[in-house]
């Protein structure tokens, strides 16, 4: 009877949950009925991984949409300008020469529009191509090229990180040397680069122009970036003790925000009473240089939102998820295997605030071969209580005439002294 149950136990070694109350016979039956799921990295898992790629398709699409809108607006504006030009001419009393001149200027205006339109439609087509290249890239992922595809994904994630961090040179180099220009958003970030660099030089003009370009969408998302930029400009006027101009400026650009942001407006206006060297903490911070860094961050956020990007760099998101899934108390021990990223100080520090992973079932890794111990390669116990995989021990025994040396204690045993352990 005992022998029977043992061989049953053998079958259950690596299977999933076997309720403790179940009798040995029936537990063996469930074990046979439910084979261990293959640890595949294709199929449903690939589908799940692809579902994470929203930003990958969304960003070029937003860019495409933006170009289309801009082109259309240009056409509408110019055509209606030309028509109103004709209307003016029809009602004015022009001499023939004047009329000819007027019409000629309209014709050349149209020619300019035509050129712009051709350029615009070229840009549209290029961006459509990019959208398509990304769809093709997602479609190309399958079991066969998966490791290469995954390595490209890591590169894409790194380029995304570097662009967001303004490491443009490295981003461009990486994209070029791996030939993935179509799969990363360097062109989109060129637009951000100008604004960010200007803000770092304490110049809000490009940022304001960007706000004007994207006015309707920023309004829809209730963005107050423009207000914040205006506040900063106001502060700069106060800093220069240009008080009269500051007041005029506030009337023109700050007052419209009064309805929604009165508190901040009042606080900033109060700086007129203080000066740039005020010691009053509430107002002192407004004059600090880090306000500009704050504006850069604000701009980056709005920029990412507008293009449908995640707020955090993809790298941070994936790293955090990966480290949470990998983190166990064993990772922080001295004998942690080097293959575990969490054996490295840098990863350990990043993982510090993250939760530990949870396990519902035993997962045993052979100390010697680092292979998973399961039904095919069951764990065996040495008389000293140390456990290794059958494969490792068999090999050791073969090489040493049936002798086993425990690599962690140095004790020696005969292969016949080992017993299999049954772990459910």
């Amino acid at each position: 009877m005992e022998m029977d149950s043992l061989s049953n136990g053998n079958n259950t070694t690596a299977t999933a949950s076997t309720p403790a109350t179940v009798s040995p016979d029936s537990s063996a039956a469930t074990a046979r009925a439910t084979p261990t799921p293959p640890p595949s990295s294709t199929g449903p898992q690939l589908t799940e991984a692809l579902k994470l790629e929203h930003q990958f398709l969304r960003v070029p699409f937003e860019h495409y949409k933006k170009t289309i809108r801009a082109n259309h607006r240009a056409v509408e504006k110019e055509v209606s300008a030309v028509i109103s030009g004709v209307t003016d001419a029809a009602s004015a009393d022009f001499s023939p020469d004047d009329a000819v001149n007027h019409l000629n200027s309209l014709v050349s205006r149209l020619q300019g529009l035509k050129r712009k339109l051709e350029e615009g439609s070229r840009a549209e087509n290029l961006q459509a191509q990019k959208c398509r290249a990304r769809l093709d890239h997602l479609e190309s992922a399958d079991g066969e090229n998966l490791s290469e595809w995954n390595s490209t994904r890591l590169k894409r994630i790194l380029v995304d990180y570097m662009l967001r961090m303004s490491y443009y040179d490295t981003a461009v180099k990486l994209a070029e040397c791996s030939n993935i220009q179509d799969l990363v958003d360097i062109d989109v970030f060129q637009e951000a680069k100008k604004v960010i660099e200007a803000l770092q030089n304490k110049d809000v003009a490009p940022a304001l122009a960007w706000c004007a370009d994207n006015k309707s969408r920023l309004k829809k998302s209730k963005s107050k970036l423009e207000f914040q930029l205006r506040l900063q400009e106001f502060i700069e006027l106060v800093r220069a003790e240009n008080n009269m101009r500051a007041i005029t400026y506030a009337r023109k650009y700050l007052a419209p925000w009064g309805a929604t942001h009165m508190k901040e407006l009042q606080r900033v206006l109060a700086t007129l009473a203080f000066k740039r060297d005020t010691e009053c903490a509430t107002y002192k911070v407004l004059f600090e240089a880090k306000q500009w860094d704050f504006l850069v961050d604000q701009f980056k956020q709005e920029f990412c939102k507008l293009y449908g990007m995640t707020m955090e760099p993809l790298l941070n998101i994936y790293l955090q998820a990966g480290l949470s899934a990998l983190k166990t108390p064993y990772c922080y021990k001295d004998d942690c295997t080097k293959e575990d990223p969490l054996s490295q100080e840098a990863f350990r520090t990043i993982a510090m605030p993250l939760p530990y992973s949870k396990q519902h079932h035993s997962k045993l890794v052979c100390y010697i071969t680092k292979e998973l111990m399961d039904t095919e390669n069951p764990p065996q116990v040495l008389p000293n209580g140390y456990v290794y995989s059958t494969k490792a021990l068999e090999e050791m025994a073969k090489k040493n005439d049936g002798r086993i040396t425990c690599p962690r204690t140095g004790s020696e045993y005969n292969y016949t002294e080992l017993v299999k352990a049954y772990i459910s």
Partner: protein, 385 residues
């Protein structure tokens, strides 16, 4: 996922965009033509001689242009384009996860550390340019030592790829003791490669001399391989058609090249796989589960940002299994130093606390929950995985 249907939707968008853009061009052309026609009429020698006539030409032009635009030739296609644009966007949101940062824990990631990880990653991959570049842009800590080491590794591997073993042999003999300490016969294997080259391209005497000088010191530990190699001597110069042809195969070279990379990293105290690649790959596998979890927790209004342990398991492939984790099948607790796994005499394994509970604090014998065998705490043994 139905990528093909998404592609179809995009094709519709692109078609509408082309249509709308050609319509715009048409309208612009038409307006231009009308104006030029009017110009021609005004300038014609037998054209309008009085200001009244000229005015009527212009008024005529005005109404023509208004008619062109009023035909809604611009708005129509644009409206359709807008429709397909927003449809496509909705499709993307439906098939993809529109916000993968939902499971993100809002903690400060130290960018310096991340940059350092990236720079090390580039060096490890042999992308020294990129590593230098990011250090330059981000001002990462000094990684010169690591750079030098990886540089050496890549030079050795690069040389091996063009079948130059000299750097590998130099490294092997310089690190002989360390290699032996980790139980590796890599140096012997590199000499094997070199020996086969000599057998194939040199004289038999050269080969014999090489074997005596370089292979013999390893013979006692690699008896079988050594004998096999000496067998090669019989086929000098025509190994490719001998039973030993596999020794010359590119696969054999690749295997030893890879092993050198591995051992090099081991001696460096580094992993063979880039830890960044491993962590990100684990993230890709784990993130879908975490996102589902974040959704469920949000629906239940539970806070999980501060949790010390994830409430559900995140299954990763076995390539991410670095540690033995024992979960007691009775209590579902994870094994630890205080609560280690114990082997019952019937060879089933439970955690210590479960055994104490079953034995009412070691006061009586108990039945194994998995088989009819009886056990006492005294005859259970602690296991070390």
């Amino acid at each position: 996922m139905e990528l093909s249907s998404i592609k179809d939707a995009f094709d519709r968008v692109a078609k509408k965009q082309k249509l709308s853009s050609s319509k715009s061009q048409e309208v612009v052309d038409q307006v231009g033509r009308e104006i030029e026609q009017a110009l021609a009429t005004i300038q014609a020698p037998n054209g309008p001689s009085t200001p009244v006539d000229q005015k009527s030409v212009l008024t005529d032009l005005k109404s023509k242009l208004n008619a062109i635009v009023a035909l809604k030739q611009l708005e129509g296609p644009q409206k359709e384009l807008n429709l397909s644009l927003s449809k496509y966007q909705k499709l993307l949101e439906k098939y993809f996860n529109p916000d993968i940062s939902k499971a993100y824990r809002n903690v400060d990631f130290d960018n310096h550390i991340v940059n350092q990880i990236i720079a090390s990653h580039f060096y490890r991959q042999g992308l020294f340019d990129l590593g230098d570049s990011i250090i330059n842009e981000a001002g990462v800590l000094d990684l010169t030592a690591l750079r030098l080491k990886f540089m050496e590794m890549h030079q050795i591997l690069e040389a091996m790829r063009v079948r130059n073993l000299q750097p590998a042999l130099t490294w092997g003999s310089a690190n002989r003791d360390e290699l032996v300490k980790i139980g590796s016969n890599l140096e012997f294997k590199i000499h094997t490669l070199q020996f086969v080259e000599v057998v194939q391209n040199g004289t038999r005497a050269d080969a014999l001399k090489y074997a005596r000088t370089y292979l013999a010191p390893f013979a006692h530990l690699n008896k079988d391989d050594f004998q096999k190699l000496m067998g090669c001597l019989l086929y000098a110069g025509r190994l490719e058609s001998s039973p030993y042809s596999d020794l010359m195969s590119p696969a054999h070279w690749e295997m030893i090249t890879e092993e050198l990379g591995r051992k090099f990293c081991t001696l460096l105290g580094q992993s063979y796989q880039s830890p960044l690649s491993v962590a990100v790959a684990a993230g890709v596998e784990g993130l879908p589960t975490l996102l589902k979890l974040a959704n469920v927790m949000a629906a239940k209004k539970q806070e999980w940002q501060a949790m010390k342990q994830l409430p559900v398991p995140v299954e990763l492939g076995k390539e991410f299994q670095f540690h033995s984790i024992f979960v007691c099948p009775v209590s579902r607790d994870q094994g630890s130093e205080e609560n280690p796994p114990m082997l019952l005499p019937c060879l089933h394994v439970l955690c210590k606390q479960s055994i104490l509970k079953l034995s009412k604090n070691s006061t009586r014998t108990f039945k194994c929950p998995y088989c009819p065998a009886e056990a006492t705490v005294a005859n259970c043994r602690q296991l070390h995985f």
